[in-house]
Amino acid sequence: MLILVRKGFRKYQRRVLISSFYIALLFLVFLLLSTYVNLGNTKQLSAYDNDWDDISEFRKEISDLGISTKSLVSSPLLLNEIENPTNSTFVISGVEKDTFSLPSIGSDSSFISFSEPEGYSTSEISAITSFVERGGTVIVLDDFGYSSGIADAVGISYSNHRLYDDEYAVELDYNYVWMNISQNHTDWEDSEEFHIGHSRWHQGTDPTGTGMHPCSRWSESDITFATKEEAGLCGHHYNSTSKKIEYDYDYNLLLNAPSAFESIEFSGTFSYYEAVGRSSPQSYLDLNNDGKITLETETAQSEADAQGPFDVYIETCDSSDCADSSGGRIYFISDGSALINAIYSFDSANSGDFDEDGKSITNIPSNDNRKWALDVIAESALTANNFTNKDAIMASSDAMVIFDESRHSQNVLFTDAYNLVYFLLVYLTGDGIGMLLLFILLFLAFEAVLIKKTDPEPWRHIFNIIYYGFGDAKRYGYYTRTNKIKQVFLSRVRNLNALSREEFDRMPAQELQDLIKDPVLVKFVFENKKYDLEQTVAIVKRIKAWQKG
């Protein structure tokens, strides 16, 4: 019974241990996945969804312009696969998810890095900067997301504080802030110089000078176009009356709850930086994150919010002045929703195209967000430097815009799981350490197959009888002892003379000697003497021969 109870307890203990192990394993897997899979999040900023807070209108428009649009759901490591990215643009609109911290080749201090920058892994950031260095264009639109990793890589820093500005869209509310693109920062002190325009695209301070933007160059060329479509990538500047492209360098961008960049010295590896867009002098950065503007006069200086202007839109290039049309550029705007459908297509939004159940969008003011975005795309795609041939204004066959969907939360489990698997696949085939891991994995898989996988055994009848032996070798020594031999001999004497034990025990010694007769055996029985092996053998032989005659 006790054994049964013990066995039952051990079985129970084993089950509990196994269950605990699997619970712990599931918990760890859940923790790991929960950092990457966020099903509770609302899906937004997607180029392939048509809600008011997605950017599908932008994608559709550039697609209509003949530019190939693609989405990237796994990892920006795939940018390395683009051989000539001169006409390609990579759009990061909101980085909602952090990256997996998988081992990768370290940058400076360590060979292998186990911790990754925010948002993108070292390898991914390297792929993005390499993409820019090879002539690609990157648009980074983010406010409080995980873009700091890529911003840090080019020497820019997000403040991660909410920006409030007196220059907000009065038709809406204070969450919608105007950002005006000025020629240079110092002009902010002079309100007369408030709206000069994009300095590089407009070429210097001379408002009559020829801008560097290709649409500006086409505008200067005085060529007429019969239709808007004929004006190609500069069609959004087309004046249907004059039949010409009339480039306008003034941009009023409407931002939704933006942040701002830190006002620091640029320290990145790129040679050209320019804070193209700034907030107004009457803007404030909510440093204490209390959701209100707190002036220095109202509280202690340490708790007060900072007053603007603040950098909101920064351009950086690999070339010294961004003059090279085939050179790469990165556009940073500290607002993830700068191109959402409601702002980008404000007319459609106001006419109710993006209304949802119980939510109606109205009064979105006219803005230049669309113009700015299409100008960025035009600058990226029109690299021919030919402003006379009308074919050159059309999108080239290799022009491409890639939308980064890998850092958008999905509200469907399988979509997120698919993205995760795809990310791992790209990591393992694109990252140095990933490839090393994959090689090891493949090697181990082959080893496992080689060792573990066996073919079905050939069937063959085997005649197999276990020829077991059974004996008691321990007793052999006992039967060589003198006393035992003596006992066996006396038993023999008693048996052969048909005596009972009692009769034999009562028998006088002389009578026993007469029965035995053999003097050697008599001596053996009556003398307690030690016998060596030879003598014992001789005695046993005599016992065996005793009375046989």
Binding site: I462, I465, G471, I485, A498
Partner: protein, 417 residues
């Protein structure tokens, strides 16, 4: 089930795809995909084991050392080919394949059938089962294999060998009280005619004497003399100690042969034979005669295995109420490791039984598997002789049965004790 080749093919294919992705080599990826696709496609091409199998044995019961002939008929009852099928009849490993093979590769068309014939030698007694039939399908490229079973079993019993001991009993000094069936001059079941009497309801028709009926006009039946038979009791030692020796030569094997042979001899003489086998308990077959009893005895002996350590006196004490007065008792035991044997024998002899002890020499069986030092062997031998002499002194007939001596020869040696 995947074969090793399939596992190599699939892992190789996936590896090539991944390496192709790593080094951006499209050709490698295509080759890898080809491997994977080839393996996957092969996984879909399957045969089937939907066959009907019938096994025919030459005998259901046979004696140790006899040959068994087996025929397996396999028929494809389906409407499509089986593809490559391996068919294997699972045979107990204690049986030796004498001729033919219990394995065949077939590819049967719809309705086709084939046969496998083989013969087995059964060197060990026991209860055995042939089957099930294993069927394995392999696809053409040996990438996948699938195993199935046809749960078709054929049971058979291998009886211990039966030796002819008649001559030994005639020539030996073994007491001649085993006289076989003798007629008594009283009516009852028997073989010899006793008298005629009138028919009464319930008499079997076969006993009606039709000539007497024709002569007298009344139904008359034949009455037979009652046959008196001797009840013989065989007690077989199946304790754990009786396994000493090899699997083919040990006290239990020899004891089983002896018990079967004695039972055969006495049942042929129309005596009643009872069998008691003791190991960790006693299994008792009450005294009876005839073929049915003979079959029961052989079946019991076929399944006996060494175990336990029950003393002989406990056996005789428990069975003594069942022993017929004065009936002969045969004890087949090595007489080792049981201090109660002298008392048990003395009690049996004291109650008037003719006790014969057939004792396989376990010491000499032990020599077959273990090197016993010469001097120890001699002393052990003397001790065994003392033990047997002691039993003989109680009035039992004792036979010291050496491993290399035939049973009939051993029975003649009773005089030597």
């Amino acid at each position: 089930m995947w074969t090793r080749k399939a596992a190599f093919s699939i892992t190789g294919g996936i590896s090539l795809v991944l390496i192709g992705m790593m080094i951006s080599n499209f050709q490698l990826m295509v080759i890898g995909l080809t491997f994977v696709a080839f393996t996957v496609l092969n996984g879909w091409i399957k045969g089937h084991g939907n066959v009907e199998v019938q096994r025919i044995l030459s005998a259901d019961n046979l004696y140790k050392g006899d040959d068994l002939f087996v025929e397996l008929r396999i028929t494809n009852r389906s409407m499509r080919r089986t593809q490559q099928l391996e068919i294997y009849d699972n045979v107990p490993h204690e049986m030796k394949l004498r001729s033919g093979l219990n394995y065949m590769r077939v590819n049967l068309g719809p309705g086709q059938s084939t046969r496998i014939r083989y013969s087995l030698r059964c060197p060990l007694r026991g209860h055995y089962s042939i089957g099930p039939i294993s069927i394995r399908f392999r696809n053409t490229f040996n990438l996948f294999a699938q195993e199935m079973f046809v749960s078709h079993h054929s049971d058979l019993i291998v009886f211990p060998q039966v030796r002819d001991v008649e001559e030994a009993f005639i020539r030996s000094r073994t007491p001649k009280m085993y006289t076989g069936a003798s007629t008594l001059r009283t009516p009852g079941p028997g073989s010899e005619f006793y008298s005629l009497r009138e028919y009464v309801t319930g008499d079997p028709f076969k006993n009606i004497n039709w000539k007497a009926f024709a002569r007298t006009g009344d139904l008359m039946v034949n009455e037979k003399c009652r046959d008196a038979v001797t009840d013989l009791f065989i007690i077989l030692d199946s304790r754990d100690i009786s396994r000493i020796g090899t699997v083919l030569k040990n006290p239990l094997e020899m004891g089983a042969v002896a018990a079967a042979s004695l039972a055969s001899f006495f049942i042929q003489r129309r005596d009643s034979v009872a069998l008691a086998i003791y190991d960790d308990g006693v299994s008792y077959l009450p005294a009876d005669t005839g073929d049915k009893q003979y079959f029961k005895i052989l079946s019991s002996l076929a399944g006996v295995v060494p175990k336990g350590s029950m003393p002989l006196q406990a056996v005789t004490n428990s069975l003594s109420p069942r022993f017929s007065r004065g009936s002969p008792v045969f004890i087949i035991s090595s007489i080792e490791g049981d201090g109660t044997v002298p008392n048990a024998v003395r009690d049996l002899v004291g109650r008037g039984h003719e006790v014969t002890i057939l004792s396989p020499s376990s010491l000499d069986f032990e020599r077959l598997v273990s090197r016993i030092p010469r001097m120890s062997y001699e002393v052990l031998k003397i001790e065994r002789q003392n033990r047997l002499t002691g039993l003989a002194g109680f009035g039992a007939s004792v036979i010291d049965w050496m491993p290399d001596v035939e049973l009939s020869q051993a029975l003649l040696q009773v005089k030597d004790i």
